[in-house]
């Protein structure tokens, strides 16, 4: 029965390939409204159609059959491309569902049985679901990539002076970010031969026990490498919260702002900052 269904569908697919392709393209481009180049769409659909005919020939209607490997690859490539270019899921899936319109039109014109309509309808639906799955997977990949990029972006280590580096922290400090900050800071200490590191938390909205613990770990790691660490950017509300929580920063020097921390680091390395005589404020 299934073999017979496959045979009927195959006959339909091969009956008038050019007409089928044209009809599919017409239906799909009406939905896409010129958002993809016609030639590109035609190439994609032509490849898909020939892959589909081959798959049905040896694999029948079973989409899990290994004969469908090429079809699956083409469909996921199509969805991935659409997902990255910001198409909606329905805009992506509709391209595949339009094949149904084309098949129905051809079946009616060539006077085929109703049975073949049902078979091809189910078959195209399954193809559509496959497209949808790959679309969602591609989108999830994009999201994961972006959050990784954000993490990288938001943790620069900057050199403030010969031997003084600073990490301005912005946003939430979780274990994953702490790990990146720590790695970058320690590597920069080695690369620049710096002896002073300033961790600025002006951009951290709240310091709870977890954030504090991460900060302490980073400082201890930097100290093990022989660097002096200062934590700066402790705003009044953060200071009061830290006291109420009972967190002890021990002998780690802390400063209200980055400027004070830089001055502290400069003095520590024997640099004295003096105003030139007769210039500036008195």
């Amino acid at each position: 029965m299934a073999e017979n269904d496959g045979q009927q569908l195959l006959e339909l697919l091969l009956a008038d390939e050019q007409a089928l392709l044209d009809q599919w393209l017409r239906a799909a481009s009406a939905h896409l409204q010129g958002r993809t180049a016609a030639a590109e769409l035609e190439r994609a659909f032509r490849d898909l159609l020939s892959a589909l005919s081959k798959a049905v020939t040896s694999g029948g209607l079973d989409l899990d059959h290994e004969a469908y490997g090429e079809v699956r690859a083409l469909l996921s490539e199509l969805s991935r491309d659409r997902a990255r270019r910001g198409f909606t899921p329905s805009e992506t899936a509709v391209s595949v569902f339009c094949l149904k319109d084309a098949l129905f039109e051809l079946a009616t014109r060539t006077g085929r049985s109703a049975e073949v309509l049902i078979v091809s309808s189910r078959w195209v639906d399954a193809l559509g679901l496959l497209t949808f799955d790959s679309y969602v997977r591609a989108r999830e990949e994009v999201i994961a990539e972006q959050s990784e990029q954000l993490m990288e972006l938001s943790t620069p280590v900057v050199k403030l002076w010969e031997g003084v580096v600073a990490v301005p922290l912005i946003g939430t400090l979780d274990s994953a970010r702490t790990q990146i900050v720590m790695e970058k800071l320690l590597q920069t200490l080695v690369d620049t031969g710096s002896e002073h590191a300033i961790i600025d938390i002006t951009g951290v909205p709240a310091v709870d026990t977890e954030v504090a613990q991460h900060l302490l770990k980073t400082v201890v790691a930097a100290r093990l490498m022989g660097a002096q660490c200062t934590i700066s950017g402790i705003r009044p509300q953060i200071a009061q919260t830290i006291v109420a929580l009972g967190i002890e920063f021990g002998d780690i020097p802390t400063k209200a702002n980055l400027a004070d921390a830089l001055l502290h680091a400069l003095r520590g390395s024997g640099v004295e900052v003096v105003r030139r005589r007769g210039e500036g404020r008195r």
Binding site: D174, P205, D208, T209, Q237, T241, A244, L245, I247
Partner: protein
């Protein structure tokens, strides 16, 4: 709440509620920090749980009330858990006791095997 991202969401929600009733910046930060500690406790010790944040009124003053509940193992020795510096995990052991000091009202309801529910309130001045 099922993941670390939800702790961030709770924190943002508490902050926006606190801003809506014009809590001072210090009180906002204290409340947000306390909520952050309790949300993480719910997640780490309870496995998962829920957080409910609401604006409350009493005698012409408004406040923010946050309730964190889980159906985890519960706390066997509450006095010990509230001792600063005592920790069952790898933390600093200041979360629960610190959260208590950061807010105006602190109620904890726990039973071993049934779960834990912590309610905190911070009033505007």
């Amino acid at each position: 709440m099922t993941s670390g991202d939800d702790v961030v969401r709770v924190r943002q929600l508490v902050r926006s509620k606190a801003q809506s009733i014009r809590l001072s910046l210090v009180d906002q930060t204290k409340l947000v920090t306390a909520a952050s500690e309790l949300a993480r406790n719910t997640l780490v010790h309870g496995g998962s749980g829920s957080a409910r944040i609401e604006v409350v009124q009493r005698g012409g003053r408004s406040g923010i009330r946050a309730v964190f509940s889980d159906t985890g193992p519960g706390i066997a020795d509450l006095d010990l858990a509230l001792t600063p510096g005592w920790t069952s995990g790898g933390g600093l052991g200041l979360g629960l006791s610190g959260a208590k000091r950061l807010v105006d009202e602190f109620d904890i309801d726990t039973e071993v095997g049934r779960g834990t529910s912590v309610a905190i309130t911070k009033w505007s001045r």
